[in-house]
């Protein structure tokens, strides 16, 4: 059986207590939420924190407050709770869909929203046991010098594999980061770097405490996920799309975000821009699909062939936008996602 390395265990009861621990321990301490990302990484010795700080006992992190004008989601709300909560509909549909498509029902019962937003980037050369990584003399992301995905690269090319981040970026979410001395709000779209190693701007002494959403009145959103099987698998490409329409169906505002196509979620600005002021018709959807696919640059470090993943980008953008305009794409959705949920 694979065993965890030894660690010290802390269980603060409040955010204040937690940030004090992080401040004192430095980067060798890591917050533990659902554990579904960190513990496998520890068993594979990808991450070996000296101290594990459980967030499970901090009540503040488990709250969901939803009002007409804005919502605040505690970072430790589980993905299963989000997927099951009827309040996550209409404008928030993309989030509920993304949460419902993460891994498996068991993992969704454990994994948290904050954990999924902070999910370590993934790569077929990195998400391996210690012994395997030894056989390739390790890699740039951990213990080695070379990025085997692109051996000339100075940058780690591990893939952002979170489902909820693309969805929440499409919904314009912000996150609240708390440390001992300060508190800041960051637009989720700006939380990530396009660097598989240094992929997140959360500092080691900060806790991602809350996700903040403004009113999504008038918005519609959707999330499409590509993976080999109907469950378990991380996305190897995803598309989140959100749009606000006039009564006549003209797009007033739109956001398209692609996941798992780089080391961070990619915001397809041009694609979204081209939709504004136009109805979602065949022409505008096709243009947006081409523009979005242009920036997706999948690499050979996940499941499926990279050029094929890129090809699916356009198809998924098309399906997502057709869904937003009200087409029945449930057949395509069921075919790709193999599940009736949402």
């Amino acid at each position: 059986m694979m065993r965890l390395p030894l660690f010290e265990f802390r269980m603060p009861r409040t955010i204040d207590e937690a940030v004090l621990i992080l401040d004192g321990e430095g980067p060798k301490a890591m917050p533990l939420a659902g554990g579904t990302d960190l513990l496998p990484n520890m068993k594979r010795r990808q991450q070996v924190p000296k101290t594990l700080m459980s967030l499970r006992y901090i009540e503040d992190l488990n709250r969901v407050r939803m009002e007409a004008s804005a919502s605040r989601l505690g970072a430790c709300v589980t993905l299963a709770d989000i997927a099951a909560d009827p309040r996550f509909r209409n404008g928030l549909t993309a989030l509920a869909q993304a949460a419902s498509l993460v891994a498996t029902p068991h993992i969704r019962n454990m994994a948290t929203l904050g954990g999924n937003l902070c999910l370590d980037t993934r790569c077929n050369y990195y998400d391996q046991n210690y012994e395997w990584r030894k056989a390739i003399d390790f890699c740039l992301k951990k213990d080695g010098d070379t990025c085997w995905v692109a051996p000339g690269s100075l940058k780690c090319m591990a893939v952002s594999s979170t489902d909820t981040a693309p969805a929440l970026i499409a919904l314009g979410a912000r996150v609240r980061l708390v440390s001992r001395l300060e508190e800041r709000e960051v637009l989720l779209g700006e939380l990530y770097n396009n660097d598989g190693l240094d992929y997140i701007k959360r500092k080691p002494n900060e806790i991602l405490a809350e996700v903040l959403l403004d009113s999504l009145h008038g918005w519609k959103s959707t999330y499409w996920k590509l993976r080999r099987r109907g469950s378990f698998d991380f996305p190897v490409l995803s598309v989140a799309a959100a749009a606000r329409f006039t009564e006549s169906g003209v797009v007033e505002d739109a956001r398209i975000v692609m996941g798992s196509a780089a080391s961070r979620p990619l915001v397809a600005l041009d694609a979204a821009k081209t939709l504004v002021g136009r109805p979602l018709n065949g022409e505008s959807i096709a243009e947006a699909a081409v523009l979005a696919a242009r920036i997706a640059k999948p690499l050979d470090n996940t499941d499926f062939d990279m050029s094929w993943r890129k090809r699916v980008t356009g198809e998924f953008v098309t399906c997502a936008l057709r869904e937003l305009r009200g087409d029945d794409v449930s057949g395509e959705r069921l075919s790709y996602m193999r599940t009736h949920s949402h």
Binding site: M1, P5, Q128, E131, W132, R228, R229, F304
Partner: protein, 817 residues
């Protein structure tokens, strides 16, 4: 019949649903220590130096072993004794074990692995068979045909060129079948102890306790009588636990040295390194047919990626050519197979052993033939299906053959005639068939002893205990034994106690492989039970004053069929018999009938009887992305008789499941890093997450139909079901994709990327297919020429010494340890 043929709860079901089934890793013993193996990080290297002193000195470590502690070579086949429990000086794939640490805690053992210093000298690596053919040195093994060729075979049954000359059309196709693995959910585990008397006992998740027993005796140089192997129920096997494994030998040695229990449970990654899974095979089929579809001749060539060790590979090589003749009538047949060594975990037997890959090629080629000849593929197969009691060109004697009925049923159930070539674009159906062995006709090592033995003990209280070496791997072998014995003795399966998979307690059964347990252990149980019944009946007849022939055994009673009130309870009847004859215990054994295939290589493929299957698969493919889904599968299986229909259906559906995984997503893939920068050649993703096994959301509805016509060779007429139904799935998917989009995917797995590439070919006006285009040159040996029965052949090759006259010193040497 009260038990046989009745759907019922299997005998071991309660243990399984309560979590009480004791798998190997569920055994915990006082003072036990944990073992971990240090594995080679290099695909091919010499071990220059090893220093284990730092690990041995580590707090909590009891013992460190290295290759010199266990130098004797072993392997499943007598002709391939090429493994060492811990490599002495040569590592052949990433994951080859070089040292073992035994410690109080598993974590300690794991961490101490890093304290072992090994110096390697790197050797050229070989990643696939074409490289192996082109790279005779360095040799991965010092034995085999030459260079890195492990085994080459060439057999010809009739003049195949003559067959092509008589054909109206000759088809040539090349196919590739990617390797894949068993992925049992239970990781391999073993626990060994030096028992209180000082002998060795090992509990292990093995499908073949008898072969493990032999390997342990050989490597540990102990009398076999001082070794007890207990096969724990396997948490899935599928062929992956059929070899004797290095970790089993290591814990046995450690337990003997430490005089304390030593356990090992492999990580999932290590299970991928044990492998012994499906061989990647490149195939070339050349088939001649008449206008009506009659086959005039077939020439099959296979190039097989064996991985780093022999394993069952010699048998696998023959299997890639053995069963082509068993489904359809092939009057002239030539087979050439070549297995190479490569620096990857060894391939071996996975469900359908060696026959799955050429079955894919043959069934897809038949689909192409049917289209060219404008014959419905189902009708074509009905025309050429083999018939009962035939002897094939390669001298396999068939028994009951119900392939045609299987085809007719799936055609009807799937509404084939309304769907084939009639569905809208992107939707399609495909049909394929198969045959499989009901038990290998020959044992792994040459001997004249039975393949299975059963001992039944009758208790004065009416209890019946069955002892047999057969191994429960989930397939229901315990239930087969209990069902047969209960039926014969008029008891319920609950009345039968089973002692199986234990080399100390039961007579030898060769193991749970080649779909042999139902027919072999089953027939042995039948014989033992009937002998017991005979004794009990004789004594009861005397006691009741009734002619023996009139006695019936049912409802736990022995009674006069003419006057049922004249009876003894079963327990009374046993006591009565014991008083008459002394203690009642009976034996049964089974040896398969002699095969007429006397030529060299004819030992692989004969079976007492063969099962047959036909399947129709429906697919939906998105032409924009190649995304493929399978909404429904219809399958019919020629089972002879279903001893327990619930379990038989489970085997069929489980086979369909595994076949669908192979068809669509399962791949044992390797990655070589840029050669300038690295020597690495690693498994691409040795994990449950990235090795894609279908989930509950990926599995379509399966409509199963069992065709029952009892086979005189099977116990109560039963044939195999555990492997055969897997075989038609992959080609049926490929044929359905063609029906849906008009593109051929001549390769497994069939993925969206490959479909898109084939569609691109189609769009460009080229051959609408994806698949291999060439078969490399192999220096084939001169073929052994065996005239088929209809050309007056006697089963011997005309250009070889007849089998009976031959003396084989090598085999005899292996027999005496």
């Amino acid at each position: 019949m009260r038990v046989i043929g009745v759907p019922r709860r299997r005998v071991d079901a309660r243990a399984k649903v309560t979590g009480q089934t004791r798998f190997a890793d569920d055994i915990f013993l006082p003072r036990m220590a944990y073992c971990k193996l240090l594995r080679s990080p290099h695909p091919h290297a010499r071990i220059r130096k090893m220093d284990t002193s730092r690990a041995a000195a580590h707090n909590g470590v009891y013992l460190v072993l290295s290759g010199k502690d266990l130098p004797i070579e072993y392997g499943i086949l007598p002709v391939s004794q090429d493994e060492q429990a811990l490599c002495v000086d040569h590592v052949r794939h990433v994951g080859d074990p070089v040292a073992a640490v035994v410690a109080r805690e598993e974590l300690t053992a794991f961490e101490a692995l890093d304290l072992i210093d090994v110096e390697y000298e790197l050797l050229t690596t070989i990643a696939d068979p074409e490289e192996a053919l082109a790279t005779p040195a360095p040799r991965i093994h010092e034995y085999g045909e030459e260079g890195n060729i492990h085994k080459r075979v060439s057999l010809e049954f009739g003049d195949v060129e003559q067959g092509f000359a008589e054909a109206d059309e000759v088809f040539e196709d090349t196919f590739f079948y990617q390797g894949n693995t068993h992925l049992p959910i239970e990781q391999h585990a073993s626990m060994a102890i030096k028992d209180p008397e000082g002998k060795l006992t090992i509990w292990s998740s093995t499908q073949t306790p008898h072969y493990l027993h032999r390997a342990l005796a050989k490597v540990l140089q102990m009398p076999p009588g001082h070794i007890r192997v207990i096969a724990t129920p396997n948490g899935g096997g599928f062929g992956g636990k059929s070899d004797p494994f290095n970790h089993e030998i290591v814990v046995a040695k450690a337990a003997l040295l430490l005089d304390r229990p030593v356990k090992i449970c492999l990580t999932r990654e290590e299970v991928f390194y044990c492998h012994r899974g499906r061989h990647p095979v490149l195939m070339k089929f050349k088939t001649g047919v008449k206008k009506d579809g009659t086959i005039t001749g077939m020439h099959l060539q296979t190039l097989i990626d064996g991985g780093a060790y022999g394993s069952y590979g010699v048998a696998s090589t023959f299997y890639t050519g053995a069963l082509q003749t068993v489904t359809y009538h092939v009057p002239r047949y030539k087979f050439q197979g070549c297995r190479t060594f490569t620096n990857k975990p060894p391939c071996g037997p996975k469900r359908g052993h060696g026959t799955v890959q050429p079955r894919f090629g043959q069934e897809v080629q038949l689909d192409k033939i049917a289209e060219k000849l404008s014959i419905d593929p189902a009708d074509l197969r009905l025309r050429i299906a083999e018939s009962s009691n035939a002897v094939t060109a390669n001298f396999f004697r068939l028994s009951v053959v119900n392939l045609s009925e299987c085809i007719r049923r799936v055609v009807k159930n799937s509404d084939w005639k309304e769907k084939f070539r009639k569905m809208p674009d992107g939707r399609g159906v495909g049909l394929a068939c198969s045959a499989y062995l009901t038990g290998a006709g020959l044992p792994i090592y040459w001997n004249k002893m039975p393949h299975s033995g059963v001992h039944i003990k009758f208790d004065r209280g009416g209890g019946v205990a069955v002892f047999c070496g057969a191994t429960e791997i989930g397939q229901g072998s315990d239930d087969v034994l209990a069902g047969i014995v209960a039926e014969v003795l008029g008891l319920e399966t609950f009345d039968i106690r089973l002692y199986t998979g234990d080399t100390d307690l039961g007579p030898v059964d060769l193991g749970s492989y080649s779909s042999r347990v139902t027919i072999m252990a089953g027939n042995a149980a039948l014989q033992a039970a009937e002998r017991g019944r005979e004794m009990i009946a004789e004594a009861a007849a005397e006691k009741l004053g009734v002619p023996k022939e009139r006695l019936r055994f049912a409802d736990k009673r022995v009674f006069d069929s003419a006057a049922p009130e004249k009876c003894l309870t079963f327990a009374q009847a046993v006591c009565n018999a014991e008083a008459r004859f002394g203690t009642i215990g009976t034996m049964g054994s089974y040896t398969p009938p002699k095969s007429p295939a006397l030529y060299k290589g004819g030992g692989v493929g004969p079976s007492p009887t063969y099962s047959y299957t036909a399947a129709v698969v429906e697919v939906a493919v998105n032409p924009a992305t190649g995304w493929i889904t399978v909404p429904k599968i219809w399958i019919a299986h020629d089972i002879g008789r279903a001893l327990n229909p619930t379990l038989v259906r489970g085997q069929v559906e489980g086979s369909v499941y595994m076949g669908l995984g192979e068809a669509l997503m399962e791949e044992q893939e390797f990655r070589r890093l840029p050669k300038k920068l690295s020597h690495a050649l690693v498994h691409k993703f040795p994990s449950m997450l990235e090795y894609k096994s279908p989930t509950s959301l990926d599995m379509p509805e399966v409509i199963t139909e069992l065709i029952e016509e009892p086979d005189p060779r099977g116990p109560f007429g039963a044939k195999e079901v555990g492997q055969g139904p897997l075989l038609p799935i992959m080609p049926a998917v490929a044929n359905a994709v063609y029906d849906a989009l008009g593109v051929r995917i001549d390769e497994v797995p069939i993925t969206p990327e490959k479909i898109m590439k084939a569609l691109a070919e189609k769009k460009a006006g080229r051959t609408p297919r994806f698949g291999p285009n060439h078969f490399p040159k192999v220096n084939w040996p001169e073929a052994l020429r065996v005239p088929p029965p209809w050309e007056g052949g006697d089963g011997n090759a005309v250009n070889d010494v007849p089998r009976a006259a031959k003396h084989n010193p090598e085999k005899e040497k292996v027999l005496s340890p």
